[in-house]
């Protein structure tokens, strides 16, 4: 990529520092993607990039200040270091200042090894299989749309306190959308993957074909509250939003759904009637993510001073009770509470669950079975009321069987409120969030039953 290896750039930046402290990290990324529409490939690409980030810490007398400068490509390191030091001097003392992390967290990788890379070749078996799926769809007069992407990002993080940490993050996703040729029926199947070795195009295509067959009978239903089965993808998109809102400082300051009337946070409060557990774990099989923090800019959820901090497994909700919120070290010190870092995966499980989604359908007298949710936006932060649409398959279940496809709906629901109304959860499985997979792909969720899911109005979209 350039004449210097990423590790050399980190060492050069640290050596060039005249500040009181420095964190430097380099992310070497490669990515390949295929996109298709109407049984034909549309766009594609292969990209490589490098991001170099230098964060300088300067004590101006009144407290430590931080300045971040990031450059892509092949920047001049001396210039980058000087710019970040100037930014720190201009910034004034930081509210989140704490001593830099010096203890290496467990599980960081081989510093000296070259970055992992991907290329268009990752689709060597996927592409012909996709071509076969196009052919079968064409034979049925159906259309396939979708996207496949694989990326590998290797992060090398070094600090003036002696940290030398490395993490390889593979991320992959496939979305397959099937439509009837008149676009009136539309269904979806998707999967997250680390390496594409576990992706079965035939399996995804079969799911699409089955759901298109379910959609042949069309049933119009009005807005209202319905007994609803949300499959893992739909559950993940709602829970991810709740996770993104789990900032301790906002809660302590009374400004998010996890704030308690009268002051303080809702930690310790029962949120779910079932013994649900919502957790993150950097070592979760198939969902592995960085075991340490990499932070370019401070916010309520993360601090540049916490770069390199271990991000161990954490329960956000345990036995149905809110147990932890995301809390950078500085806010933890201010509130004498534990520092807790966000982890880039999310798992919801009911430890007592035994049923599969198919078994939940079979035990449903009358209800709706969703596929995915779309265009989820916050309506009221007080309750975390979210709005959004059902997408690519709302099925009517009668007498334990799918009897047809229903129109789409706009829903208005809060994931925090829903937790308290879930009456059944299935076994947990890996799933691909439909709405948020540009940012978040590592999720494992159950399907859940909600007796009174609020469909606010009908959407004519298909």
């Amino acid at each position: 990529m350039s004449r210097y290896r990423a590790q050399e750039l980190v060492e050069q930046a640290l050596a060039a520092s005249s500040a009181d402290g420095q964190v430097a990290y380099v992310v070497d990324s490669s990515e390949a993607n295929l996109r298709w529409a109407g049984n034909s490939l549309t766009t594609n690409g292969a990209m490589r990039s490098r991001q170099v980030v230098v964060i300088s810490f300067v004590d101006g007398g009144a407290g430590m200040a931080a300045g971040t400068v990031a450059r892509s490509g092949t920047p001049d390191i001396a210039e980058l270091v000087a710019a970040s030091e100037q930014a720190a001097r201009d910034a004034g003392p930081a509210e989140d200042a704490v001593p830099l992390v010096s203890d290496a967290p467990p599980g960081s990788g081989d510093w000296d090894a070259d970055p992992a890379e991907t290329s268009i070749g990752v689709f060597e078996e996927f592409a012909p299989a996709l071509g076969e799926a196009f052919g079968r769809a064409r034979d049925r007069d159906d259309l396939l749309f979708g996207y496949a992407e694989h990326s590998l990002s290797t992060t090398y993080l070094g600090s003036s306190t002696g940290l030398r940490l490395r993490h390889d993050q593979p991320t992959g996703r496939v979305e397959l959308n099937g439509k009837s040729s008149d676009f009136s029926r539309s269904v979806w199947a998707g999967v997250g993957t680390r390496d594409f070795l576990d992706v079965s195009v035939a399996g995804l295509a079969a799911e699409v074909e089955r759901k298109l067959a379910w959609s042949r009978r069309r049933i119009d239903l009005p807005a209202g509250r319905y007994e609803t089965l949300l499959p893992p993808s739909a559950v993940s998109d709602l829970m991810i939003y709740a996770y993104w809102t789990m900032e301790a400082r906002d809660a302590d300051e009374g400004r998010n759904v996890f704030a308690k009337a009268g002051g303080g946070s809702r930690i310790g409060e029962r949120l779910a009637a079932l013994p649900l557990r919502l957790r993150s774990d950097p070592d979760a099989p198939g969902l592995e993510s960085a075991p340490f923090q990499v932070v370019g800019g401070s916010s309520g959820a993360a601090s540049v001073f916490d770069n390199g901090m271990a991000t161990p497994a954490v329960d956000w909700i345990s036995d149905g009770v809110l147990t932890n919120l995301v809390r950078p070290r500085a806010w933890a010190l201010r509130t004498t509470a534990p520092a807790t870092a966000a982890v880039d995966n999310l798992i919801l499980e009911d430890p007592n669950a035994t049923a599969s989604l198919e078994e939940m359908v079979a035990s449903t007298d009358r209800g709706l079975l969703l596929t995915t949710l779309w265009y989820i936006r916050e309506v009221d932060p007080q309750t975390l009321l979210l709005t959004g649409l059902t997408r690519d398959g709302v099925f009517l279940v009668e007498g334990g069987e799918v009897t047809g496809a229903v129109n789409n709906f706009r829903f208005n629901e809060s994931p925090v409120d829903l937790l308290g109304r879930i009456t059944q959860a299935s076994r947990t499985e890996r799933t691909l969030p439909r709405e948020w997979n540009d940012w978040f792909t590592r999720a494992a969720m159950p399907a859940v039953r909600v007796p009174d899911f609020h469909m606010s109005s009908v959407s004519p979209a298909s």
Binding site: S2, L34, A37, G38, S40, L41, T42, T43, N44, G45, A46, M47, R48, S49, G67, T68, V69, S72, G73, D90, A91, G92, A94, E95, I120, A127, G131, F145, S186, E253, G254, R255, K260, G262, G296, G297, S298, S299, G300, W374, R377, E378, V379, D380, P381, Q382, T383, L385, T387, N408, R410, N412, D438, H454, S456, S457, S459, P460, A461, S462
Partner: protein, 504 residues
């Protein structure tokens, strides 16, 4: 008099000609019908403050190059970051390799609509002060001072504020001979005041209405927006909002302020008239459109008052350029005329597919790493010539709601069913504002909503709103876009009470 501005010398000093020769020569040697190269440098700075203290100052620069080819009727694309002739050759070869992998799976032959050649084209957006020439300390000091004014006000417990600034420099060259170099500057300062009632756990916020614009740092200092007035008004507006009654759900006449209506236009007209959506290219992701090509020229989109244009030419418009990312000159055209769908936003391949003489110039890539796709022009609702003021529109409503500022937005994948909230809602009684309302959202179907438009404000109500963060395509790309509109009156729109919607 000074001549027209050029792009920064430091960008023009990059080896643009050598990269062009290397990439395009290699692509032609490999048998490409078309090839283009883009070199881009994008500076971004995000400053955020929490309670009037600097929280984060992040300064980024993205520099790279991309080669796109049409090889035997198939697209190929490759991007990199090393600005050498050898890398440009490698990217041309990789783009052709990608095209070969794709060919087996592609059934549509790519052809581009013709466009005149512009051998030496220069365009720089209209701005006075490049934000990246202002010292960080000076920028932070001004944002801190403005935030402190809000913090000092009675009832304001927290202030979230910040400013995003972008400078985008782009060079484009293609095998037809077009060479363009362009520079765009944009900025978005925002200030939000929050109030918290500890006893009840209730909290409420209000944000400045100042839109993102294609201007420089002078947006904060030069008088084009009255920051002093807006920041002075917010605490009292917020106090009034916390004490306002909860809305009674039902149908109301709405007077929608441009600060809210721009986003409704963006979602229900802007995206719905993107031809790639209508053709299904975005079907699995951003979605399709109810405004399908068989309805061009006949679909009744809204009332006869409705005249919507697309343009990439509006001064200070976030989607304004000189030439798009396929070398097509910026244009302005009709999308809805007399309430009827008459036009789409297209790129060169789609223009050819639809038999159009020429693309209207909507190709855009958000970074040197991404392939250009059809992105939104400035899609704007034209005001009524000699039309009424906002106050005159309100005076014509007996029982209604006046909607100000955007907040929450959501619309379905065919752009029918939408739901929006706002920064503030006022009850209208007997033609007069009668205090704020809480917990309001409006929900409608696109053609019903635009069909209910009974009056349009005049030019004096016209404001250019917009967003820096419009998302589309896979891999995801973010585009800036502006939408101008007047105030407008809509009859009998469904208003929801969001507390009731939440089941409380």
């Amino acid at each position: 008099m000074a001549g027209p501005r050029d792009v920064d010398a430091s960008f023009l000093a990059l080896p643009l000609s050598a990269l062009t020769d290397a990439a395009l020569t290699r692509a032609v040697d490999l048998g490409c019908e078309h090839a283009d190269i883009r070199v881009e440098r994008i500076r971004t700075q995000s400053i955020s403050l929490r309670d009037a203290r600097l929280e984060s100052l992040a300064d980024g620069e993205d520099l790279g190059l991309a080669v796109r080819v049409v090889h035997e009727g198939t697209w190929g694309f490759a991007a990199g970051v090393v600005l050498t002739a050898a890398e440009a050759v490698r990217l041309a070869e990789e783009a052709v390799a990608v095209a070969r992998v794709s060919a087996a799976l592609s059934s549509d032959r790519v052809e581009l609509a013709p466009e005149p050649v512009y051998p030496d084209a220069v365009w720089v957006s209209d701005h006075e002060i490049d934000p990246f020439t202002v010292p960080d300390g000076e920028k932070t000091a001004l944002l801190t001072e403005l935030s402190e004014r809000l913090m000092a006000a009675d009832g304001v417990e927290h202030v979230q504020s910040g400013c995003t600034a972008v400078k985008e420099q782009k060079y484009y060259a293609d095998t037809a001979g077009t060479r363009t170099r362009q520079e765009r500057v944009r900025i978005h300062p925002q200030f939000t005041a929050l109030t918290v009632d500890r006893a009840t756990g209730a909290f409420e916020s209000m944000r400045t209405l100042a839109p993102p614009v294609g201007r420089g740092w002078e947006y904060l200092t030069g008088g084009s927006w009255d920051w002093d007035r807006e920041l002075a008004e917010i605490p009292e507006l917020l106090r009034e909002k916390t004490k306002a009654p909860s809305v009674e759900a039902g149908r109301y006449d709405l007077v929608v302020d441009p600060s809210n209506l721009w986003l409704t236009i963006h979602e229900s007209v802007g995206h719905a008239t993107e031809l790639d959506r209508a053709l299904g290219y975005e079907a699995a992701y951003a979605g399709t459109s109810f405004a399908t090509v068989d309805k061009l020229g006949s679909l009744r989109y809204g009332s006869e008052l409705m005249h919507v244009t697309g343009d990439r030419t509006a001064v200070h418009g976030l989607a304004s350029v000189g030439w798009d990312d396929e070398g097509v000159e910026a244009q302005r055209w009709d999308i809805v005329r007399d309430g009827v769908l008459v036009g789409y936003q297209v790129d060169r391949n789609m223009a050819r597919l639809r038999g159009m003489e020429r693309s209207n110039g909507c190709a855009f890539a958000d970074s040197p790493r991404h392939v250009p796709v059809q992105r939104m022009a400035n899609v704007s609702l034209q005001p009524a010539a000699g039309g009424p003021s906002t106050e005159e529109l309100i005076a014509g409503v007996d029982r209604g709601v006046y909607v100000v500022g955007d907040k929450s937005w959501s619309i379905d994948m065919q752009r029918y069913n939408f739901q929006f909230t706002g920064q503030r809602f006022y009850r209208i009684e007997g033609g007069k504002l009668a205090g704020q309302l809480r917990d309001v959202a409006y929900q409608a179907t696109t053609t019903d909503f635009w069909g209910s438009m009974r009056a349009l404000g005049g030019e004096q109500t016209y404001v250019l709103g917009g967003a820096l963060n419009c998302g589309k395509a896979q891999p995801g790309q973010v585009a800036p876009v502006s939408h101008g509109c007047p105030s407008a009156l809509f009859e009998g729109v469904s208003i929801l009470n969001t507390v009731q919607e939440g089941g409380r």
